[in-house]
Amino acid sequence: MELLNALVAFTNFVGVPAIAYGSQLAIGALGVTLVYSVLRFSNFAHGDTMAFGTMVTILFTWWFQSAGVSFGPLPTALLALPLGIAVTMLLVLITDRTVYRFYREQKAKPVVFVMVSLGVMFMMNGLVRFIIGPGDQRFSDGERFIIKARAFKQMTGLDEGLAIKTSQGITVVTAIVVVALLFWFLNKTRTGKSMRAYSDNEDLALLSGINPERVVMYTWLIVATLATIAGVLYGLDKSFKPFTYFQLLLPIFASAIVGGLGSPIGAIAGGFIIAFSEVTITYAWKKVATYVLPESMAPDGLVQLLSTDYKFAVSFAILIIVLLFKPTGIFKGKSV
């Protein structure tokens, strides 16, 4: 019984949140890895693309809410999501036309693109804050929980409750669907294959009649979709704040690099590794430990390895360890 309680407490405070956060990171990292392999640079503007997509989705959500449109028990934001994606696609394509394309024509070195994306990041960052402001926005509505802690306790008779938020459920389901669709697209469709061919060997792709501009366009469209979905899921689960999204860049990059840059499977694995490490290291283990250990050994303190304020240190540490000992990442990306 004690062990079961420990397990439930662990699932409730570590397992479920980490799976949801991991899924969000994975979708974000997929976008980064896609830009890295097709356009050949690390897109620093990814976090702010996510912020922009989420912002647009929030604005449409508010509009829907004021018009009395709702999605039953599911959050209204899901209805607004396609519109958010569409607007983000537009922004990203305009950015590509006006900014990146110039450097492509110059055949600029990848590091130049990285710096350019840094500039784009600042612009998007400013744009988002200008429109919606730097403050915290909550936009989730509908049913809050799939399983409530109290209902779970009554159901099982355990002391510990297990709560699963609707946003967490939606996150996991969406992540599975998105990943499945992306892999199908990249491996089975003509366009997806041409993107892989372009990523593998640009010259030969050109000689095979693949239009590079077309490939670049599709890549941006997919990246805009992934970024918006990741951003909205994160916002539903926690809350939307432009600065938080900018900071998300670090765990997302860490996920992509840990998994192996350029490898989609790696991006997903990396997302979960980073999420689980972050959550387990910043979790106060006192409760679980009290259940598992004999009474005499019950801890006095919180048994928290690191304060949640330092959660980014975890991503950083993992990033450095991976770069030192396995620079190609777990799933052997193209990196380093």
Partner: protein, 277 residues
């Protein structure tokens, strides 16, 4: 360097933010295709006629160089290192600034076309290096070869598999895991998928063992028998001239000798200077 500041990475090789893998290095002579002119009169199927030119704004590498091939023929360009063999082929393919002379294919002057547009016009080109998509399967490589085709290309794929049976066996294996000879077969197969009017091979036997080289030459002859003209650059001059209908010996970017393969093999001058006696 080119003097373009955007192409200077100041030594940054950090692969965790930049990905140089597979980046394009091709520097075509034309960014955009110019006009195509109809050509009157009798002329070989594919001819690079009196080509003089060099890379970009650089000095001339080719001087009045002429290379031609007709259907059913194998034309081979041989010569010492640095003679401009590959350069001559690249000039025909539009990667070199041809300042005088012209390239004509099937009665059309295509000198002003970009390499991509030449592929559409029916040129199949197999580069010497990185000529396959290493991360993709053999079958996907062939599919990408047929990218410009909108019709059903399963027949052509069957033909390629018939020509290179080993590829059919390994169709679902990533092409990067194949041996050197098999990779060359994938590369040639990929170029054949467009159903080109002329096939250009840049040192197809570079880096393969002598046995594999003989097999590759056999396959190339087989392709030529279908009526497809083949233009080929070769290091292994002797073997290449043996199968050649036409041979061009280049020296310092100029035509030094030309004739049928047998003539060149019999020519004492050619034997002495290039074939080791």
């Amino acid at each position: 360097m080119s003097g373009n500041p955007y192409q200077d990475d100041r030594g940054n090789k950090d692969a965790s933010i930049t990905n140089p893998h597979g980046a394009g290095t091709m520097q075509p002579a034309h960014r955009k295709s110019g006009p195509i002119k109809k050509v009157e009169g009798d002329s070989p199927f594919l001819i690079g006629d009196c080509m003089t030119g060099g890379y970009g704004k650089g000095p001339d590498i080719l001087h009045d160089c002429t290379i031609a091939v007709n259907p059913g023929e194998i034309a081979v360009i041989v010569g010492p290192n640095g003679a401009g063999k590959s350069t001559a082929m690249k000039a025909v393919f539009g990667m070199l600034n041809v300042r005088s002379g012209s390239v004509r294919l099937d009665g059309e002057d295509i000198t002003q076309l970009t390499p991509q547009d030449r592929v559409v016009k029916g040129m199949g080109f197999v580069p010497q290096t990185s000529n396959i998509f290493t991360s993709m399967t053999v079958e996907e490589n062939l599919e990408m070869g047929a990218f410009i085709r909108t019709d059903d290309f399963s027949d052509t794929m069957e033909q390629v598999y018939h020509l290179f049976p080993i590829l059919k066996e390994k169709r679902n294996q990533p092409a990067g895991e194949l041996s050197g000879g098999q990779r060359q077969q994938v590369a040639v197969g990929r170029a054949l998928m467009t159903q080109p009017k002329v096939l250009m091979l840049d040192e197809p036997t570079a880096g393969v063992s002598p046995i594999v080289m003989d097999e590759l030459f056999d396959r190339i002859i087989e392709v030529a028998r279908t009526g497809l003209p083949i233009l080929m650059v070769e290091q292994n001059a002797k073997q290449a001239l043996e199968i050649a209908d036409k041979g061009y010996v280049l020296v310092q970017g100029r035509n030094a000798y030309s004739g049928t393969g047998q003539e060149l093999l019999a020519d004492p001058e050619v034997r002495k200077s290039f074939l080791g006696g």
